[in-house]
Symmetry: C2
Subunit: 353 residues, 2 copies
């Protein structure tokens, strides 16, 4: 392994000269710099980031805490975040928390001991995040992605607005009996999407003689939840051809749930969208490939990643500059991105209208 000393002797200069020639932190005469650069190229020198980090107190690395890469939304976000980070010269340490508080705490330890400059944190769960709190106490820059947490900088989408758009679409088509398949009940994203849906439905039918009926089921952001719940509902007589007053539309809190529901509806021979409309959330790629293709709310993953990295790196820079009076700079900016409804085949007018 070739070190800065090797370069120094090869170029016939001191190590400080080499260091400065490479960092540009002080003027170096052109001939000297050329000799250094030549030696670097000749010996294939690569500065040791560990040593650099040890003295500079900064590693240009970020920790990415994500609940579950098997969820395509998270893997899309992970990809986008990593690409953005790399463009700005940061490396990403990947951590699969599996929604497990113990694992989270564990990872936080590892990341801190690896001296990461900042944390990208996906809550994904509704339990009060001890790990997140610990990180904040350690004064390490954190950006929460995909969820709003008070007093913590974050990037997320207008989930209420997304829910509202769904509601407006469905109300306009005459749907007023709707089954909502949520993820975990306590999840803010689930609650927000539901809130938007509910409010737009109520205001749409306000003053008319049709009553809004919103049937709620909660579970998890997984296809199996959608699949099983639809079958459960059928078994309970809430859904199916024999059911009276069955919902005419199903709104899933994310695309995975919708996918599971779609499969179950097919098994129950319930025609989508003729007998029952179906809407997802996230805008995953596969939603355009299902049969029927899925109406969904598109999340701008690239933009989210963009703002998240920007926010985080800004905070890192701030905390570097104001190492002492850090609390003074303690703003908690929140970036909200709009979402857009993508209407596809899975939605039609309510039957009998």
């Amino acid at each position: 392994m070739t070190t800065i000393k090797d370069i120094a002797s090869a170029a016939g200069v001191s190590v400080s000269t080499v260091s400065h020639a490479l960092s540009g932190n002080r003027p170096i005469s052109e001939p000297t710099r050329a000799r250094v650069l030549a030696a670097v190229a000749a010996l294939g020198y690569r500065p040791n980031k560990l040593a650099q980090g040890l003295v500079s107190k900064t590693t240009r690395s970020l920790g990415l805490l994500v609940p579950d890469l098997a969820n395509p939304f998270f893997s899309a976000m992970a990809e986008a975040l990593e690409v953005q980070a790399h463009e700005r010269g940061y490396s990403v340490i990947l951590c699969n928390t599996n929604l497990d508080a113990e694992r989270e705490a564990d990872y936080l330890d590892v990341l801190l001991s690896r001296q990461v400059d900042g944390l990208l944190y996906f809550p994904g769960t509704s339990v009060p995040n001890r790990a997140l709190q610990a990180a904040l106490e350690k004064q390490i820059p954190v950006v929460v992605v995909d969820e709003q947490i008070a007093h913590v900088p974050g990037v997320f989408v207008d989930n209420v607005g997304g829910g509202r758009q769904i509601g407006e679409l469905l109300a306009g088509l005459g749907h007023h009996r709707i089954l909502f398949l949520g993820g975990a009940e306590a999840l803010p994203t689930v609650q927000d999407r539901l809130r938007g849906l509910r409010s737009s439905l109520y205001s749409a039918f306000n003053g008319t003689d049709t009553a809004v009926e919103l049937l709620l089921r909660f579970g998890a952001y997984r296809a199996s939840f959608g699949y099983e719940t639809v079958h459960d509902c059928a078994r309970e007589g809430l859904l199916g051809h024999a059911a009276v007053d069955a919902p005419t539309a199903i709104v899933a809190a994310n695309d995975l749930i919708a996918l599971g529901a779609l499969r179950a509806l097919r098994e129950l021979s319930i025609q989508v969208p003729q007998e029952c409309s179906l809407v997802g959330f996230d805008g995953l790629e596969f939603t355009m490939l299902t049969t029927p293709s899925l109406t969904t709310v598109q999340q701008p993953t690239g933009l989210i990643a963009n703002s998240a990295i920007e926010l985080l790196i800004d905070r890192i820079d701030v905390s570097l500059d104001h190492r002492d009076d850090y609390p003074a700079a303690r703003l908690a900016p929140q970036v909200v991105h709009p979402v857009s409804l993508v209407v596809r085949e899975s939605v039609a007018a309510a039957p009998g209208r």
Copy 2:
């Protein structure tokens, strides 16, 4: 930030004692160790991995070079690999190469300067991997995942066998005109799957008066390729109700391609499986949720990840022990996992038989 010195003074011992009390590298009297541990707990001390790595020449970190996390197979593998690595005390640095040789080289630089102990490498592309060669020359332990590369340790599946199982299933159902939708033509995984398919078809129909007709199309491991190619074929009169001697089955080189193909077939009103059977490869979760559900070859992602991490860590240990006579230990073990065909709704007997 609290350092080992702080612990030493807090516990009233020397730094070496603290170090050894924590590492267990030499006997420490019980009372002393207790005092050290108490101080550690009290001050929330976490050893700085940078400093540790600088002296110990090992960082317990791995680089994961993956072409594209948007592909669910890769994200499933990434998740499994990271979980395994974490269980063994290793952190994973995520790198999205996007099949771009320049990015790969770039990442390799970063990873080397970060002193990773080893590399998990997904080729994903067929171009001769300069980055991989460079890594090998640097003597850094590498394990190639998902593809066999001569003289490089690797973990992959029996793609030929998977192709053969597909061929046997289809031949048994009377399919002898088959459209194969490959990924990139030069990809070994694509070639192997095709080879297995072809050989089993030929041997099944050998000696009969039915001729095997295998139509080949190559493109990329993406849904859009499957979608567009099926439409192209229809436009060319190779597929569709008007086509004479249209293939009775489509074999896609992976599940994404199959998903795209399924959608296109639906748009062409070609019934799957009554008019055309469809088979994928990878065994992604969504394949059981499509309509019809997809027959596919299941890859054991967990097992693959397991062997890959094991292989890599073994090699790391070896290269640590034999730092000098390393080439002597230069075996290139290759682990092959079997795959299993999962038969679902998308396959039926060839029409008219």
